[in-house]
Amino acid sequence: MNTQILAIAVAFWLVAWLVNTWLVGLRPTNGLVAKAINLMIPLLFGVALLVLWEGVIKGFDVSKVLMPAPSMVWARITSSVDILWADFYQTYMKAVLAGYAMGCGSGFVAAVIVDRVPFLRKGLLPIGNLVAALPVVGIAPIMIMWFGFDWQSKAAVVVVMTFFPMLVNTVAGLTASGNMERDLMRTYASNYWQTLVKLRIPAAMPFIFNALKINSTLALIGAIVAEFFGTPIVGMGFRISTEVGRMNIDMVWAEIFVAALAGSLSYGLLALLERAVTFWHPSYR
């Protein structure tokens, strides 16, 4: 047992905590400084967490089969960029993006139709709500049987997973515009499509982006889990399940790091896009 490393890690954690406490107490008048502090606090917390993780692993000599230290995972990431890139390309660029686009697109179109036909709204929406809560990843083996082992079957799982959140959220969003605004559109003599495109869809945007954000995580999960059921010898889910079997836990964590990075970046990108599209919304003004 290496108490020195452990002590250093714990000390770093404590210092980071104190610094954070001090940072929270600050009341900067400059807007830019306030923004920097807002970013600093969680960043410092994350770094402290990593240092503590490293310290505990090194300090207690935990076997790398159980839990690798962050430095080991990083070494593995830098030494096997090509494998990680191939897996990322197979899972994310092919399966996730195709499935995400098709699932969200068809969910949106279905929502517009459901909104137009009240009978469908009453009949389909409760079922959509139910399906959105179901363990949809379970259809993965069926999709593999139908669409083969390659990325198409994973994209199909992603389509089914993302369709219902999009449907439910968009239908809710289309009712978000107020009666007054709709009456205004009527006094302008606008028809259904004009009202839809110029008023109701823009008003639904916060809901639509909410679904897009939920779906960005769901899509990645769906594609990775679907690969547990069978895949050609490339892909993030495939790599995770085989490397776990070979006890190469550091490789698994490297894949998880890539997945986390991809998930966070797509989420961040969507958040930026949302801000640009819904600039009129009270929460951004």
Partner: protein, 298 residues
């Protein structure tokens, strides 16, 4: 539009539309079952050098052993066979597998709810935690958490912990998030006026918590628990896959996909769906009862 009330509202706004949509889905399902399974039957007939009539074709496509898409009645009869007709202790009983999945779902849901509530309480009461932990809780959900499932299972197996607990941990990881976020919102929901009133009563932080914040957060708690219980089930099912398909609904899915037993896959899927719906309904029922007793029912 005409306002309907009571039974006729239930009939025209719920039962008829939902019934029609379900009926359409079932009809479509039969159609696709015939369409997808027909190729196999035609191949069989061509190999045996016999002609089959259309009615024969339809009849056979709906009663294959390993169809590409089983017909609804095949799935229903399989579920009937493996729940009512088998002994509960039998390894082929869906009740047995369902119970295994359900127990780890419930344990994970319980741990996740407790963890979520404690995190929310800590975040509401500590500014440092709010600013440093909250962003990471949100980032943790952009990570495809289920990807970690095999790691958790294998690692805990290696140090001698197996069975219910590792699967429950995955459910915990999935279900703590909605509870934490919902409870932070709920614990902050009391008005400034109410908080000020408590302060004029000279109440301590603990008193404010138990008499104002906690009661105000109960509706938020139940809303997030509905989401949490559904994803706990997903976590438990996925957690059963990497252990090598021993027992549970996830194992039924995996072994069904290994051996091409489509009817088994579909029946496992349906029982998972029924289980999810039942769990959500149960939480909903509990929330109605509690909110009514607290005088908060709408």
């Amino acid at each position: 539009m005409l306002e309907r009330r009571g039974f006729s509202a239930l009939l025209y706004d719920r039962i008829v539309p939902i019934g029609v949509v379900v009926a359409v889905i079932i009809v479509l399902w039969y159609g696709f079952a015939v369409l997808l399974n027909a190729q196999f039957e035609r191949d069989q007939a061509a190999r045996a050098k016999t002609e089959i009539t259309t009615s024969q074709l339809i009849e056979r496509t709906l009663s294959q052993d390993r169809p590409l898409l089983p017909a609804p009645h095949q799935v229903v009869s399989e579920i009937w066979d493996t729940t009512v007709m088998k002994k509960i202790t039998s390894k082929r009983s869906l009740v047995y597998h369902g119970w295994i999945t359900l127990s780890s779902t419930l344990l994970g849901f319980l741990m996740g709810t407790v963890l979520g509530i404690s995190l929310a309480v800590a975040i509401v009461h500590s500014k440092v935690l709010d600013r440093s932990l909250m962003p990471w809780i949100i980032v943790s959900q952009t990570v495809p958490i289920l990807a970690i499932a095999p790691v958790i299972i294998v690692v805990l197996n290696a140090i001698g912990i197996s069975g219910l607990f590792p699967k429950a941990l995955i459910s915990t990881y999935l279900s703590f998030f909605p509870v934490a976020v919902g409870m932070v919102k709920g614990l902050r929901s009391p008005d400034v006026m109410h908080l000020d009133l408590m302060r004029t009563y000279n109440s301590s932080a603990a008193q404010i918590f138990w008499k104002l914040r906690w009661p105000a957060s109960v509706p938020f708690l139940f809303t997030s628990m509905k989401v949490a219980v559904a994803i706990s089930l997903v976590g438990a099912i996925v957690g059963e896959m990497p252990t090598g398909a021993v027992a549970g609904l996830g194992a039924r899915l995996l072994s069904g996909s290994y051996y091409g037993q489509t009817i088994q896959i579909w029946s496992a899927l349906f029982s998972a769906a029924v289980l999810a719906a039942l769990l959500v309904m149960l939480v909903d029922l509990a929330s109605r009862i509690v909110l009514r007793r607290m005088g908060m029912a709408q």
